[in-house]
């Protein structure tokens, strides 16, 4: 791919704008008025400006989108996007989604947070089930580890929200490895049953270890803070209230808005990391392991480490989701971590298309937003929800967005 400097793009855009001016200027700038005409400068300039901007944006797109593909010699593919393009695109997308905070009610913010949590869970389980092909029915266990890690970490060690995120990721990752060891030799159905048991064990321990976890009574989770700002009406953690610092009227939606914004950023980073993993040796190793374990081992791949890393990576994403769950609910109890949650997350991954990152996001949004949208149908909403799932699986048996290999070209191109 040839390099296309920004200055050259700018020049080209100016040129395009000039041509537009010449071509459309007389058409849009001259208004016939009887046998006379009057000139109007605003319209042609607006059109030219639009062309200028669009041409500039098009210039920033990677050359491969616009120009025919060059024939490649034997060499690694150039990345599709340059770093600054990714950063810019990510930032724009983030700001666009973040601006939802300004319009959404507290109710929709809470729904949005749950949707994003499920996106995160889906992305995590997708690493294990979609990439590595290890059917995990106990994923909720890692979610619980993250949530309780935050709540109990605060209760016993005084950990805050920001410390809890990486620690919960580590802790859940460790649990992932612990689960990974005994199931290394298992495949398919057997693996599913053992992981199912693992998820239940975690829930039962949380439920019955009264002295440590508070059992079915649950644990309070603190509200997150941001550099000492608290998003509550009254400070409880020795900070200053956010609304007083900024001279705003207190609203109970502020906390949700804050969690939404942080969660959105975390989802974005996870999405980037997970989609990059696909093209990296470790991601390729996971997929190869899914396809043929014997071939992998004959190539010298350490299947133990590869499997464990998939479990750990998926689990730590689940753990982070747990922290956000605890933070947004303000309270965790074992009831939230039933097998149904595992099934729902698995449904997200399968519905979205095994291994397809974007499909998982769509499915997560669909499966969490749909029951809310359908609330008006009251008694029938779960029924409609179920039907919708069945229909999707009939129409698109391999998921909403089927997995696309990152390095395939379309045939004939």
């Amino acid at each position: 791919m040839s390099r296309r400097p920004v200055s050259r793009t700018m020049l080209l855009s100016l040129f395009a704008a000039l041509i537009t001016l010449i071509l459309t200027g007389p058409l849009s700038g001259l208004v016939l008025n009887g046998y006379d005409f009057t000139t109007r400068f605003a319209a042609p300039l607006q059109i030219a400006a639009m062309v200028l901007i669009l041409r500039f944006i098009a210039g920033l797109l990677p050359a491969s989108w616009l120009a025919p593909k060059q024939k490649h010699e034997v060499e690694p593919r150039a990345p599709r996007f340059k770093t600054y393009q990714l950063v810019l695109g990510g930032l724009v997308l983030y700001l666009a989604l973040a601006s939802l905070v300004l319009f959404a009610s507290k109710y929709w913010l809470a729904v949005g947070i749950m949707a994003l949590i499920y996106v995160l869970l889906g992305l995590g389980l997708n690493v294990v089930v979609g990439f590595a092909g290890l059917l995990d029915l106990g994923f909720v266990g890692f979610y619980a580890v993250g949530a309780y890690g935050y709540a109990l970490g605060h209760q016993y060690l005084g950990l805050g929200f920001w410390a809890a995120i990486p620690l919960a990721a580590l802790l859940a990752g460790m649990f992932g490895m612990i689960l990974g060891f005994p199931v290394l030799r298992m495949h398919g159905d057997y693996l599913a049953i053992v992981t199912l048991g693992f998820g239940e064990i975690i829930r039962l321990v949380l439920n019955n270890w009264m002295a440590f976890t508070g059992g079915p009574n649950g644990v309070d989770a603190p509200a997150p803070t941001f550099f000492g700002w608290e998003f509550k009406a009254n400070v409880t953690q020795g900070g200053v209230p956010f609304h007083e610092v900024w001279g705003l009227e207190y609203s109970s939606g502020m906390l949700d808005a804050f969690i939404f914004l942080v969660l959105l950023a975390v989802v974005g980073l996870t999405l980037y990391a997970v989609s990059r993993l696909r093209g990296m040796p470790i991601g390729r190793a996971w997929e190869a392991l899914r396809e043929d374990e014997i071939a992998c081992r004959s190539l010298g791949l350490n299947h133990v480490w590869t499997k464990l890393s998939a479990f750990a990576m998926g689990a730590s994403i689940g753990g982070v989701a747990g922290v956000f769950f605890a933070a947004s609910q303000g309270f965790v109890s074992p009831i939230s971590f039933s097998f149904f949650e595992s099934a729902l997350v698995l449904a997200i991954v399968v519905l979205g298309g095994l291994g397809s990152v974007y499909g998982v996001i769509l499915a997560a949004l669909f499966l969490t937003l749909m029951p809310e949208v359908l609330r008006e149908f009251a008694d029938y909403r779960i029924l409609i929800f179920g039907f919708a799932m069945v229909l999707i699986m009939i129409w698109r048996p391999r998921g909403i967005i089927q997995q696309r290999r990152p390095f395939f070209k379309r045939a004939g191109s």
Partner: protein, 241 residues
């Protein structure tokens, strides 16, 4: 490594799956630069012998030396990292991955990947078909192309010794010929090759030396041409012509 020292040396190995004994005291060796073949009928223990090199399962008695080092109980992935690369029986390519990704998988065990570019080029030169189809799903390749891919994938690690398990399995005679010609070329470029084959005719024509495995023991050994003209071999493995 000295030139006169065997690159692979199996010393009296016996292998069993649980209680079922498959190999009974097999000894064989491969010298650097040689093409050696092991022929034998179904169930003679050919594949088991290859598996035992990779400790799946390890022999219960006897020793395996590779490049002078005892690898008898080394874990599977460590064996490959020593420079022993297996083209598994039935090819076992990764069907959902592209051809080039399959080849990249051959590099997973290499800590030093600096040879990747030139090696890839060599492989594409050996198998131009793979280059044409480098972005195609490997599962859509024909049987012969898949075998080429499996060989190429194993070559990516620049192995000292290339092991092939039944490379002719399920392939048309003409394709088999092409593949064996390429193997000859690979050997000429300096890679030692050990082929386990049922297609004795082709394998013996190619090989410098050959072993015959029957009922879990070596029954005959000699140069490829010697065995080709051997009456017993003719009767048992070459269809008596």
């Amino acid at each position: 490594m000295k030139k006169d020292e065997a690159i692979l040396d199996l010393k009296n190995i016996s292998v069993a799956y649980g209680q079922t004994k498959v190999l009974h005291g097999v000894s064989l060796h491969v010298m650097p630069g040689e093409i050696v073949t092991l022929i034998g009928s179904n169930g003679a223990g050919k594949t088991t012998l290859l598996k035992s090199l990779f400790a799946t399962p390890s022999p219960y008695s006897g020793e395996i030396f590779f490049g002078g080092e005892d690898i008898t109980v080394l874990p599977t992935h460590m064996v490959s990292r020593r420079g022993l690369s297996l083209v598994p029986e039935g090819r076992r390519i990764f069907p959902a991955m592209s051809v080039s990704e399959n080849l990249a998988m051959g590099l997973v065990a290499c800590t030093d990947k600096s040879h990747a570019g030139p090696t890839l080029k060599t492989i594409y030169e050996l198998f131009p078909r793979l280059y044409e189809r480098r972005d195609q799903r490997a599962g859509t390749l024909s049987g012969g192309e898949q075998q080429m891919l499996a060989i190429g994938r194993s070559m990516m690690a620049k192995p000292k010794l290339l092991l092939l398990d039944e490379p002719s399995l399920g392939l048309a005679p003409l394709i088999v010929k092409t593949i064996f010609t390429t193997l000859k070329q690979i050997a000429a470029d300096g890679t030692t090759i050990f082929i386990v084959e049922q297609n004795a005719n082709q394998a013996l024509k190619l090989a410098d030396r050959a072993y015959v495995l029957s009922n879990g023991a070596i029954s005959l050994t000699g140069s490829g041409t010697e065995l080709l003209s051997n009456e017993d071999v003719k009767k048992a493995y070459l269809g008596g012509h």
